[in-house]
Symmetry: C2
Subunit: 251 residues, 2 copies
């Protein structure tokens, strides 16, 4: 045992820090943008975090992201895009985090660098199943700030900025968050939630009507206490063709 410890000390400078993957998954419930969080199995504490775990030596980063998200939340087959790697020396410094790590990991104080992935899903398409060290999985509204583990607030904020930037240049992100059939009110509400300002209804609808990748359906809302809205659908094939031609700016 003594030898083992000595060796570990010695290897500290030879080896790299641990590497982990964290996922920021966004969803839209028709009104609010939400982020997927897990609640840790940690005795006596309520600690929330982004779903994430250590990389296994046999996996690529992308594979780790897929596995980790599935292990912790049950989510499967969803699009993930890498957006950054967070390598500050002190990103694991909160005693509560270290306490928790000591229950699941040797050498809990060891440095960890994490690569973050970003995803957009339709909330109602998936059923969440907490698993592994996640006691609970929840959809946290983005505007309700919650204290997260490690530097996960920083990571989530970075992802949020990227989403806000992307929706201006790649309108597909909006349709990834909406159901297959959606009303223009929903689409506009989603835009407004993300860009954070109100948009003119007539101009918004005019722009949408000019986009071939959004098609009106012959279906309408039912049981609403106002004129029922028409449903629309998104055609990814057409979108991609337009996108390649460079005519893909929605705003």
């Amino acid at each position: 045992m003594f030898l083992y410890i000595c060796f570990m000390e010695q290897t500290k400078s030879i080896y790299s820090p641990y590497l982990s993957v964290d996922c920021v998954v966004f969803g839209f419930d028709g009104e609010l943008i939400r982020v997927l969080l897990i609640k840790r199995k940690q005795a006596g504490q309520e600690v929330f975090a982004l779903p994430g775990d250590l990389l296994d030596l046999s996996e690529s980063l992308d594979e780790t992201a897929v596995r980790v998200l599935n292990d912790l939340t049950g989510l499967n087959n969803i699009y993930l895009e890498q957006f950054g790697t967070f390598g500050d020396v002190d990103r694991i410094s909160n005693p509560i985090d270290i306490e928790w790590l000591s229950t699941i990991r040797e050498r809990p104080e060891e440095r960890v660098i994490t690569t973050a992935y970003f995803s957009l899903i339709k909330i109602e398409d998936f059923e969440l199943k907490p698993n592994s060290f996640a006691e609970q999985v929840l959809w946290q509204p983005i505007e309700q700030k919650k204290q997260l583990a490690f530097d996960h607030n920083k990571i989530a904020n970075t992802a949020w900025s990227i989403l806000q930037y992307k929706i201006r240049n790649e309108p597909i992100v909006a349709f990834n968050l909406l159901p297959k059939k959606f009303t223009l009110r929903q689409l506009q509400g989603l835009y407004e939630s993300i860009v954070g300002s109100e948009l003119d209804k007539r101009n918004f609808r005019k722009r949408i009507q000019g986009k071939k990748f959004v098609s009106p359906l012959e279906e309408f809302e039912e049981g609403v206490a106002h004129k029922p809205a028409r449903y629309y659908s998104f055609d990814e094939e057409i979108y991609k063709r337009e996108f390649e031609k460079g005519q893909w700016f929605l705003f």
Copy 2:
């Protein structure tokens, strides 16, 4: 020794892969966009690579990038922006790379994941000084494809795509590549080099004249065999103000 090997085998699954940092530094010589490469000190081989090296456990990723670039090329005090982390399992597989790693590293076959940084500099502002394991430092024209070590071609291509994307949305990247005083011909040439198509001179100049962050100077070219061009300068303060207001699209 046997024990040592055994332990290494055992730790493989405990420890993470090595972590390294690679830098893609772009420059513009007035005509061509170039990328900064190093030539390795490797006997009997001419191998070129992006400047990069392993992370030290005491450094953040950003600090590593700064150090590595300085160690290998002498470059100092330059802006670096992280743009991706490359973690494929087989990214170190070329025998020439493994042979070289065996001369500078224990366990050369060990997996390495690398975080890549992106930079834009004015070529003439800096003097290159090869150092460490760099035998030579060179500015390679971007359109002359060269076989690079590891997956550095993939990394450099990703950086190039990002530059092409950025110049459309963040015109500041252009001014990072130009001297403090530049002619509109130089600016237009730079744009054309990056976007890869020709632009209309009159329309280009009209757009520039509408931007408050580009100011005409009372200086002109000298000794040229044609009408001397006026020099212009870039005002980063004004740019940032416009940028914050969201009125920053050059195209």
